[in-house]
């Protein structure tokens, strides 16, 4: 019974604290809303009076001149351009520096089978994997050499 009474008291106290916090938050929201409305009202008045926004006074922010705003815009544009350039460079890099296999190595591999006059199924699979590592143009070239060798009977084997 005592425990229940104790819990009820604690619950009541917590509710009271939450209520106070709620009032405090509402007061802050009201103050912020009033400030915002004041600023909007002043802006509208200044625009009507033909006064530039550079002289817009605010409660907490320092006033900015037109030159300051132009400088900020220039810096932001420069930063955006720099980011875009870096992104483009990063995208282009893999193509520029993509490392393909060495065609000479694949040619030597093929030459060995040509010298022997035959290629087994496992060797054919290995050769095809080597060809796959080459640049697209070199793949076509080596596949053509392999196919021609098979057609001419220089290599006994199958794909």
């Amino acid at each position: 019974m005592r425990a229940l009474v104790g819990l009820s008291i604690i619950q009541t106290l917590l509710l009271a604290v939450l209520g106070l916090k709620l009032f405090a938050v509402e007061a802050q929201v009201d103050a912020a809303t009033r400030t915002g409305l004041d600023v909007l009202s002043q802006t509208a008045q200044l625009k009507q009076a033909g006064i530039a926004a550079r002289s817009l006074p605010t409660q907490n922010a320092p006033s900015l001149t037109g030159a300051d705003i132009r400088q900020i815009i220039r810096e932001e544009i420069a930063a955006t351009d720099s980011d875009a350039h870096m992104t483009r460079t990063a995208e282009a890099r893999p193509r520029e520096t993509a490392s393909y296999g060495d065609k000479a190595d694949v040619q030597r591999e093929l030459d060995a089978y040509l010298a022997r006059g035959g290629i087994g199924q496992m060797e054919m699979a290995k050769l095809q994997m080597s060809i796959a590592q080459l640049s697209p143009a070199e793949r076509s070239e080596m596949l053509s050499k392999l196919t021609t060798a098979l057609n001419q009977g220089d290599i006994d084997g199958q794909f």
Binding site: Y100, Q128, M129, A132, Q133, T147, T148, L150, N151, F159
Partner: protein, 138 residues
């Protein structure tokens, strides 16, 4: 007289049983023409030919290229009873599609150029290319 009747009846039964059932059959042994760079043949006839060399078929290889991509190429190959061989390879997307469209037991025809690249790939899936011994759907 009874003997002659029995022989005639037996002969007629044999004729009817061999000719009437099973549908049309059109075996196409593998041919490789090195003048026109073309090969034809059906897979079942090649597989059950009375030699150890005849073959025909097409396939596709997909291999990682080591740079995050996959290198795909297709090929066809044929060898006739006289051991004449024809091979071709292709990276052409349409010809690869043709190979994907192949099926078991079919007729295959393909052509190639001097570089060994496939210039034509065709398949034909017909009842008369099916092997004996498949379950009937009757």
């Amino acid at each position: 007289m009874k003997k002659r009747t029995a022989i005639i009846a037996g002969a007629m039964t044999a004729l009817l049983s061999s000719a009437a059932f099973g549908g049309a059959v059109q075996p196409f042994p593998v041919e490789v023409d090195l003048v026109n760079l073309t090969a034809n043949g059906d897979m079942v006839t090649a597989r059950y030919s009375d030699n150890k060399v005849e073959l025909i078929g097409c396939g596709i290889r997909k291999i990682e290229d080591g740079a995050g991509g996959v290198f795909s190429f297709g090929f066809c190959q044929a060898r006739d009873a006289d051991d004449v061989r024809g091979f071709c390879n292709t990276q052409n997307a349409d010809l690869l599609d043709a190979i994907y469209a192949s099926a078991d037991y079919g007729f295959i025809t393909f052509s190639w150029n001097e570089d060994g690249q496939c210039t034509r790939i065709g398949f034909s899936n017909q009842s008369f290319y099916l092997p004996k011994g498949l379950d009937s759907n009757n």
